[in-house]
Amino acid sequence: MKFKTNTSPFFSSENNISSVMLQVLLALIPGTLVLFYFYGWGVLFNVVLAVIFAVSFETIALLMRKRPVMPFLSDLSAIVTAWLLALSLPPLIPWWILFIGVFFAIIVAKHLYGGLGYNPFNPAMVGFAVLIISFPVEMTQWIQSTSLGQPSYGFVDSLRIIFSSGITPDWDAITMATPLDEVKTGLRAGTPYAEIIQQSPYLQSTIQNTWLWTSLAFALGGFWLLYKKLIHWQIPIALLSALALISAIMHLYSGENYSSPILQLFSGATMLGAFFIATDPVSASTTPTGKLIYGASIGLLIYIIRTWGGYPDAIAFSVLIMNMAVPTIDYYTQPRTFGHGRSPDTKTSMNVKDNKL
């Protein structure tokens, strides 16, 4: 009787990329829902539109590259990229800005570099960086949170704003700078940190309600990913520790001129960045020690750019800068292989060849 031949191992687990990506998407749901609660339909439209654009671009790119469409579409990686980008953008942002962002993320950052697994840069952050450089005004104005007593826009109104040709006349009235932006402007003007917070009830409420809850929701998703072992602990923990440490040191050094670690950790995209963006396996460092270095460096860069740089938030630039350093980090942080070095008995192995049986 004849049998089919193959090479070992014949056994494989049920892991697959789709289920990994699906679980990342599930982990994003709490944060997305909290954002939806505070900012209304704009958040969901961002996500839905970005996903539609991403899937279309992915299909076109796969067809043009003559790759099988279904296996790659069903890996859900394009949807994760789109979702992350959508959450980083202000709600109710015009559709064409979203379109450009997704184009750069999927087509340029992902497929021009060889598609899934081959992109040296985090695709969502490439999209974000292009947008914040090209459209700084639209990208830094967030609509006011419902925690300030503002009613959120309804379904239809939201659609109208998104698909209107440009920024609506009342845009300035309904939007405000993000807390990080406002604090930075205040500090630059020489106002002491405590005063900036106290002066503006809006700011206080946004920090203490909207961003705190949003950050906690993303952190919850992040911890679930850690629990499911879908991400390694090194990157988020190193990133958050480094950011907390340096901001605490600076805040202790001068509480007037430097914002508190609480603000650094729980506003802006810190938590989203730490658990979902910096942990993108393709573009992040892959060795255990390398991940610590990579995460901590991103944390430091976030603080440096937020405090002294030209942009209010800094996840995208910090991640992209560290993406460049990944091959070097990985090369110099190989773990000790079994039976190599350190072992006290290693020296005796030198004469192994002589008494080998």
Binding site: M1, K2, F3, K4, T5, N6, T7, S8, P9, F10, F11, S12, S13, E14, N15, N16, I17, S19, V20, P71, F72, D75, S77, G115, L116, G117, Y118, K229, L230, H232, P281, V282, A284, T286, T287, P288, D330, Q334, P335, R336, T337, F338, G339, H340, S343, D345, T346, T348, S349, V352, N355, K356, L357
Partner: protein, 562 residues
Amino acid sequence: MSDLINPTKITTSSRKLWSFHGGVHPPFHKDDSNTLAIKSAGIPDKLVLPLRQHIGIDAEPCVSVGDKVFKGQLIAKHNHHVDQQDFSANIHAPTSGKITAIEEHSIPHPSGLLANCIILKTDGEDEQSESHKLAPFLDYKNTKAEEIIERIEQAGIVGLGGAVFPTAVKLAGSRKTQIKTLIINGAECEPYITCDDLLMREKSAEIITGIEILLHLLNAKECLIGIEDNKPEAIEMVRSACKHNHHIEVVSIPAIYPSGGEKQLIQILTGKEIPAGGLPLDLGFLGQNIGTVYSIYQAVIEGAPLISRIITVTGNGILHPQNYEVLIGTSFAYLATQAGGTTKMADHLIMGGPMMGFTLDDDDIPVVKASNCALFTSSTALRESNSAFSTQSTMPCIRCGKCMDVCPAKLLPQQLYWHIRAKDLEKVQEHNLKDCIECGCCNYVCPSHIPLVDYYRFAKVEIRDQKIAQEKADLSRERHEFLLFRKERDKRERDEKRAAHKAALQKKKADIAKKKSESGEDDSSDNTKADAIKQAMERAKAKKQARDESANKSYKKEDDAS
């Protein structure tokens, strides 16, 4: 009671265990085959006995075609030269019968190789002859270690855990250093396989005696038997069998693949890491498999050579999975018939387990000393991913690092893969590919279903080829350089010779001239000579004119005349 006398035994349950890095928990499928007792598979009509069932070189046949052989008779002799690292092991007739051929036959090998085999047509008598029996060493404690090792060599025992290294050679080598701890491997971590489990349950006393023989041979004081905790009956049986000997301890270890890897088991039991490229021997350990220990018992106490082994026949492609005691040389086809026959699901026949075994393309292949499992299975039962029958397609690597988390050698499989794809073999070596044990854990967990182990095998061969090519190139460069040197040297020597010759000639000339000038008076003789020539020329001229018509002859005559 014995616990009180030997305080070390009390700590059995509290012995500190270490863990090795990584490992996986695949479905173990042990229950498929471990519920029934070991059954004898009987005597098939034909046995095919490969001359090489061990690491090393072919054994030398010592029977000829047409010979009648008895059960246990030596049919192929080891002819190893240990100094040259050439090993082999004896092979015996598993039953009585007639040698019908010594020819090439397919053997269990990943590439479906043919090799020299002795074909034995059995007569069903299972006849033994007194002259071919080995005398049992009942009182092994008063027998010289060398004699026991010789017996183990005579009995053709090899490591039955899969490495099939001749046991006698290993033991003789181990005696050169002091072994502190004998490690008995009863982990059996590969899914589906239960032959050691059943052997431990049914032959625990014999196994303990085998261990005692080894301890005696090695003069070792401690023996640890590592058994995975998914074999509680085996642990119980072996533990009660070794109660009387406080040097032997049964250690229940957590079930995780590949705890049965020699280096992994030693790390679990002792916390020691065997240095890369080293042997357990370097740290005073010696590892032996359960099946090997049982064979040692049989050889020493019963005088029986290794002519059969226990093999697990299992998988969803077989009707009645069970463990069988099988004569070496029995075909897998016969074995399948004994186990109720194959089902429609039998896509594959795997010798060994699903993690490190290999497929056989045909079942007309003999069971050899290394065969611990015949796994008849469907592709889907294994969730096979890296083949043409794959149920899951291969995707690009997303560097998730799951492979790194499970690698027992603490390698970076994702980086190895990346550098192999880039054919950057230098980087591959910097990432210590040679420490890969090909356990398949990385492959098992990979969410992209990349056949990582195939990449590593490929790269290992490439690196080896490159090394050989490099050595060859070095050798020819040396040769070429030597050729140039030799040409240069020859030329120089020739020139020197020539110069010396020239000088000698000149010296001779000078000598002659000197002599002449010394003797002085020769002017007159010169004149006479010149006159003679002149006269001769004139004579010749005259003669030439005379014989103008017959030119041919003239020269001869002229010569004659002159």
